[in-house]
Amino acid sequence: MTVPVTPVSPEQGDLGPPGRQALRLFIRNKAAVFGLILLVAIVFMTLFGSFFYDQDPSRIIARPLQGPGEGDAPAFGTDYLGRDVLAGVVNGGSTSLTVALVAVLLVAVIGVSIGAVSGYYGGWIDVALMRVTEMFQVLPALLFAMVIVALFEPSTRSVSVAIGLASWPQTARLTRAEFLRLKNLEFVKAARASGASDFRIIWGVIFPNALPPLIVSITLIMGAAILFESGLAFLGLGDPNSQSWGLMIGLSRQTFLNGWWTVTFPGMAIFATVLSFSLIGDGLQDAFNPKLRGR
């Protein structure tokens, strides 16, 4: 006796592997694709922008505080020292993106391992790890990061580590929640009953199923890390030796009322970068979870 294959619901018909289905839904999402294009453009500008707009952002090129189009000012005007704002915008992204990337890697490694172990084993291991997580969670993240950066001298490395240390609890909690949910599902129990080892169950069975929400969350944390970095730089706690959008705004704090362009354009760059991650994260969320679309 053979049973014919009947699709469970018409929407899910012929869509092959779940990953490919998500990709297809993502590509169909205009906002998400816009976010992706925006991000690619920003990364491209950061990596290769100086080839096309070859201006040293730290050099004084004109009279200070000239607006766009005034006199001999460049496209985005000049800052309080007479430096080119556009050059700053073009070159300011590399610090933000590097810091955010390193911080997020740190968050992913710490958060996922702690969350996975905590959720899978439960019991006293869970209690102990969650208490540590809680300790980091009650500290206001920005203040905590500021103290770390100030103690260890501001540098790209200390800023990344500080942001990573202040941000991982959220990922740990999410991973733990996913593991708690998944470990009691029947396909995980079936793997256990088949004799699979803990390592195989954690990384081979549960983890791939916990990935979609984690990818979404990590994407959004990437955006948050950029905001975080720019906040620190704004306060003067960024790497003093590198150009950064947040720093540009921070330095213009005393003079911005005489030159709106000195804060507006760098801020837009931060906003666009974070927005691109938000849009991508949102699109991924919808793609992984078509039922919840638009929520």
Partner: protein
């Protein structure tokens, strides 16, 4: 009651752990506090440095210093500021209420408007307004808060002078209490909108999602099957269930909000804890920083407990003692 007591006991332990961690972090980090305190004038003089070290007990074994500090904190003494030479506790207390005012206003504004917007759009999920809220929520969340603040100043305090550029009150004002309050409220508008807009973005989205889910629930179907009007279905049966996740998230985010307040206070020169913290970082004023870290962690813990209480009031399923057998 027992649960609450246990929760408070546990929270005390948590705060103690935070104190130990922050104290260790600050005291084991590279750099000599004494040199910082000695400042430009005395930094070269080893005698001055030694005197300071003696004064502060910096030469004692680390654990002795830690023990002494914890003992003081328990008695409400957070030490003396290096910079201001004033008790840290006094410094913090005077800065506490402006921060409270700012965060409180921002969060109330965000929750009330956010939930209303969420409910409104959940009832018409395909309407242009509903899509507009999605866009607003994404942009609101993606804007750096200090930038929003600067833009608002440019637009509403500089171009048109509807609101003051910075500060919490007009020093020239000499009026009665009502005028004082109106003045503070006037100063409060831009900072609280700046801080609130991020959370408004998040809560409107969250309550919309939560409302959409609740509107699909079986008990809403039951309410409709009873013949209730949609208004009653939404505002009586759905709303109370839909705000539960919003309350939870708002409680959990309190720490983040303090971080946001720090930036907003810096932008608007708001005389709160955040600005004190930012200044202390640059002046390496360790006792003040430690005090603020400890106090804000304690606040976060307290807010979490309060959230729990509110949560229990809204949702009888976890009300203490409700599960009688």
């Amino acid at each position: 009651m027992k649960q609450i007591a246990a929760r408070i006991a546990w929270s005390a332990g948590l705060i103690l752990a935070v104190i130990v961690m922050c104290f260790s972090l600050i005291h084991l980090a590279p750099g000599d506090v004494a040199i910082v305190i000695a400042g430009d004038s005395g930094a070269g003089d080893p005698e001055v440095i030694a005197e300071i070290r003696e004064d502060l007990g910096l030469d004692d074994p680390f654990l002795v210093q830690l023990g002494g500090y914890v003992g003081d904190v328990v008695q409400g003494d957070l030490g003396t500021s290096y910079r201001f030479n004033e008790p840290v506790t006094d410094l913090i207390v005077t800065r506490l209420w402006p921060t409270f005012l700012l965060v409180g206003t921002a969060v109330s504004f965000a929750i009330v408007i956010g939930v209303l917007v969420g409910v409104f759009t959940a009832r018409r999920p395909e309407s242009p307004i509903s899509h507009g809220v999605t866009v607003f929520s994404l942009t609101g969340y993606s804007m750096p808060v200090f930038w929003t603040g600067l833009l608002l100043i440019i637009m509403f305090a500089s171009n048109v002078q509807w609101f003051p550029v910075s500060g919490m009150r007009d020093v020239r004002l000499d009026g009665n209490w009502l005028e004082e309050w109106v003045d503070i409220a006037h100063h409060l508008v831009l900072p609280s909108i700046t801080l609130g807009v991020i959370y408004l973005a998040q809560y409107s989205r969250l309550s919309r999602a939560s409302m959409l889910e609740v509107l699909q629930s079986d008990y809403v179907r039951t309410a409709r099957a009873k013949g209730l009007t949609e208004r009653r279905v939404v505002y009586k049966h759905a709303l109370r269930n839909a705000v539960i996740p919003v309350v939870t998230v708002a409680g959990l985010q309190f720490g983040q909000m303090l971080s946001g307040a720090l930036l907003v206070e810096t932008v608007f020169n708001w005389p709160g804890l955040g600005r004190l913290a930012a200044d202390s970082v640059f002046q390496r004023d360790a006792p003040v920083l430690l005090g603020i870290l400890i106090l804000s962690s304690t606040l976060v813990v307290i807010i979490n407990i309060l959230t729990d209480v509110v949560y229990r009031l809204i949702d009888p399923r976890i009300r203490v003692g409700a599960a009688t057998k």
